[in-house]
Amino acid sequence: MSQTRVVRIRESILAENKVQAAALRERLTASSVAMVNIMASPGGGKTSLILRTIQELRSEFRIAVVEADIDSTVDADKVTAVGIEAVQIETGGFCHVDATMVQAALAELRLGDLDLILLENVGNLICTAQHDTGAHVNVALLSLPEGDDKPLKYPIMFAAADIVIINKTDYAEIAEFDIDAVRHRIAQLNPRSEVLPVSCRTGDGIAAWIEWLRMRVTPPHGPRC
């Protein structure tokens, strides 16, 4: 029997995806397309935020949506119902999308005809945050009924986000959600992240989100520079 030996490896298991994601981001930038990755729990309001964003920005930007779902087209159908092109990634049980999957979806779109791609990630707060999709902007969406302890329970999500949108402010009276506590926790994890309360249903706070997004999509701030 041969002797055991220790082999030093020091290899990140996420490295391969990071390389692919960086290449994808570069390709999008070269085509002057901004991609926004929207992550949340199931029912947090990802599709509602996407529909709101389309409503506000469709006159300014040419938008397409990439929808990731384990095995349904419900969300993609809502997007196409308002006249926007959607590519559906059926992840077949996979709980997040990675750069390879997004690349496959983008092959279905003509990047030259687009300014903005909204990527609706699979609904979960765990591994979606750990896999770079190639997006320029990462949005973490948290809704009041989920509770204000989410940044404590899922720190990686809130550390990876460029902006945290707190949705369903119209539930404030019944949700017992401490927005200041959430701001404080996010500031510890990720001081650069914006925290923006909105209600996709009433439209409260949506203007601030649109303004924030516009700055990141429009040149010279956006991917064209």
Partner: protein, 170 residues
């Protein structure tokens, strides 16, 4: 077809996991004017079984890296895998080990013991002229401040990573 939860189909090593079916959906010819409905307001609680899926996808990546290096070393068996994982990772080591035992069947890594060490995240101080990198455990501090200049504008460099540090083979 990759597995959905711990009891279903188990992927084979080398099998392509990222099964992607991208389907394009064109808008209907005359789009109705629509505003977000109440659909996004469904109950946001996650399914209980979902927690297992996340460990599984990470475990598959760990196995891929381990087998690649074991092959390179022409090893017959992997006895131990040392991993360094961010302390922010919410994945459960017990599930990572169980999934590893299962999906490594038939590979040189089957039976290997996983040693998981948690590491404090690294931050970069954004104050111009400082730019110090430092590690601090978020379990021990209430607020992240730069140990060099005392500045509070610090960015986490890597929220979550899983690094295969070393393997013990024979």
């Amino acid at each position: 077809m990759p597995l959905v939860c711990g009891t279903k189909t188990v992927p084979q090593i080398g099998e392509e996991w990222n099964v992607v079916r991208a389907t394009i959906r064109r808008p209907s010819p005359s789009p109705p004017v629509d505003v977000p409905g109440t659909d996004g307001y469904a109950n946001g609680r996650e399914a209980r079984t979902e927690g297992m899926v996340h460990e599984l996808s990470i475990t598959n990546d760990i196995l891929r890296v381990v087998v690649k290096h074991a092959r390179r070393e022409k090893a017959d068996r992997v006895h131990r895998v040392a991993l360094v994982v961010s302390e922010l990772s919410d994945l459960q080591p017990i599930w990572i080990q169980r999934y590893f035992d299962r999906i490594s069947e038939g590979t040189v890594a089957h039976g290997a013991r996983l040693e998981i060490e948690h590491q404090a995240p690294e931050f970069l101080c954004n104050r111009s002229g400082c730019g110090v990198r430092f590690s601090v455990s978020l379990r021990t501090v209430d607020r992240v401040v730069c140990p060099q200049c005392g500045g509070g504008d610090c960015t986490m460099q890597e929220a979550a990573d899983y690094v295969v540090e070393e393997i013990e083979v024979s």
